[in-house]
Symmetry: C2
Subunit: 343 residues, 2 copies
Amino acid sequence: MAATMKDIAKKTGLGLATISSYLNGGNVREKNRIKIEAAIEELHFEVNEVARGLKTNRTKTIGVILPELNIAFCTQIITEVEDLLRNQGYATIICDCRSNEKREEEAVEFLLHRRVDGLIIMPSGKHGSYLKKFISAGKPVVLIDRELEEIECDCVLVDNESAVKDAVEKLILAGHTRIGIIIGPSDIYTAKRRYTGYCMAMEQAGLAVEERLIVRGDYTIEGGAAAMKKLVNKNPDMTAVFVSNCEMTMGAIIEINELGIKIPEQLSFVGFDNLEFAKANIPKLSIVTQPTKEIAGQVFELLLERLEGTDKQKKSQTVKLKTGFIEGKSVNVSGRKEWSSIY
Amino acid sequence: MAATMKDIAKKTGLGLATISSYLNGGNVREKNRIKIEAAIEELHFEVNEVARGLKTNRTKTIGVILPELNIAFCTQIITEVEDLLRNQGYATIICDCRSNEKREEEAVEFLLHRRVDGLIIMPSGKHGSYLKKFISAGKPVVLIDRELEEIECDCVLVDNESAVKDAVEKLILAGHTRIGIIIGPSDIYTAKRRYTGYCMAMEQAGLAVEERLIVRGDYTIEGGAAAMKKLVNKNPDMTAVFVSNCEMTMGAIIEINELGIKIPEQLSFVGFDNLEFAKANIPKLSIVTQPTKEIAGQVFELLLERLEGTDKQKKSQTVKLKTGFIEGKSVNVSGRKEWSSIY
DNA sequence: TTGAAAGCGCTAACAA
DNA sequence: TTGTTAGCGCTTTCAA
């Protein structure tokens, strides 16, 4: 059985309050400090955070709810947030919901029972009604990568419209006019914004947004491959394509290879957020990148401010970060060449 | 403030023990059950797992210590284990140690304070002395992917020797004799075993294990690229290469592309455990695969048995799983062609 | 600065 | 089956 504060008190002949004070950085007489330290050493005493949590009503634990732990975007952010939090003494309980809304709701419930002090969530569903219980308990919630209409809380996003708009503009500048896009499910926040970005770029360039050039995937590798296939079948005259998420970028490339289409000679390509893969591919892919480390830093800061900051009534904020762009060799700069003419 | 059992007791006029019994699946008179359920509903009561944990001395929480959360092998296992554990009511606290032994030790300490019921760890360091505290507290520890000499606990591994031996044999059967290998750091368990597998295959085929054909990387993408460069520089006559982990496989491919070497015409290639990437590459890569889902299942079962099983004194076991192999197009079947003759 | 004592929300032993 | 009660290990008044 592990030693308790009581044991330390007995050993040193001091009271519990003194031990507690010592453990929490209070003032203790020098000679008592020495006695306490000796006793702690001797008895291998370790604070019981569970008991402390019960008493203080703060578990120093943060719940993290993710759609998929397997998605690089998620792990990159979480690995960083976890590190920052642990440095502050917070543990993170991660729940992977397999992009399933019901599981997400269960996870919230699960974490509520555990009395986590706060929640970081990248929601799968469109409404977040089950988060209300959390918020009304006065516990901070930080949303990553999506906004939720009914929920009033802090939020860290990237500027999805601009990201896609800029990327598509690069294709337009390279002379492309028939630019396909593989976008995500219509009910997902990021997919909507990215789609908007595409439309903005096309319209500003005086190009029509044609239905046939738009195919939806489900943000998975397989979905990206299937969408690419559809896109190619429907558009023999397409000269460029933009893929709007990391997994689908990979899937699209697999399919392009399968079909024997040459990048960039037959098709110019811009992908999303899969840096290592983009570098490893032949040719290197041009991609939009997301500032995962910065996102993590912002999430951490917003959360910590709510957890330990002074101004508890602070209005909730939304932080919007800029994306990056890595130039590869997957965009044909002339771009005038018709795919069908090579085909 | 959240409702407590006391509130339910007051509301229903019942005693605490009755409520507790109800909550823990004990027998309660039908009409009391109804009263309790009504009260729970009305007061939005939720069990406080923290208090329960303090009382029962079981937190229903498992600590997970990983070298890198960003490594696909780790996330694939963890996402699965987390799911299985949560279904049993266990939360998982994940600690990413950035492959740093000191951080790993800190994580053990951190989790000890949190009174986790058990530990799943993929150790970075070679000795695990800091795990002893855990084990002597009577808490189960399950090791993934490595054995630790001084530590007596359950362990789930893959058969690294055979995995590599079989892969290298395929290269030998294809006619290759000068086969390079990129292996991991000499102090890492898996690297040692994989190296042994390479040596076994070569020796059994009557081929000399030449120092110049062996380069060490650090299990990272960059390390894989650097190692590949060295290997090529030192061995203009090498016709095939085996890369012994997932990240280095990617790095090696990046470097091979950089150098303009053609797979499989100039160099046959077998990589490790990066299925999606292997499929996306041109040509598709032949790779050794690891049964991550099975590993996760075994880890879960071993842990649960210790946690809730009857035979507490059960001797610790080591489970060794078989790896797979996916045939790609990256091995030149003739193999007799000398690289230098094309070069 | 220190000690005594109450109590966080729950479980479990015992009694009824 | 149910109620009473002690106590898990800690923090936090309040007094000294």
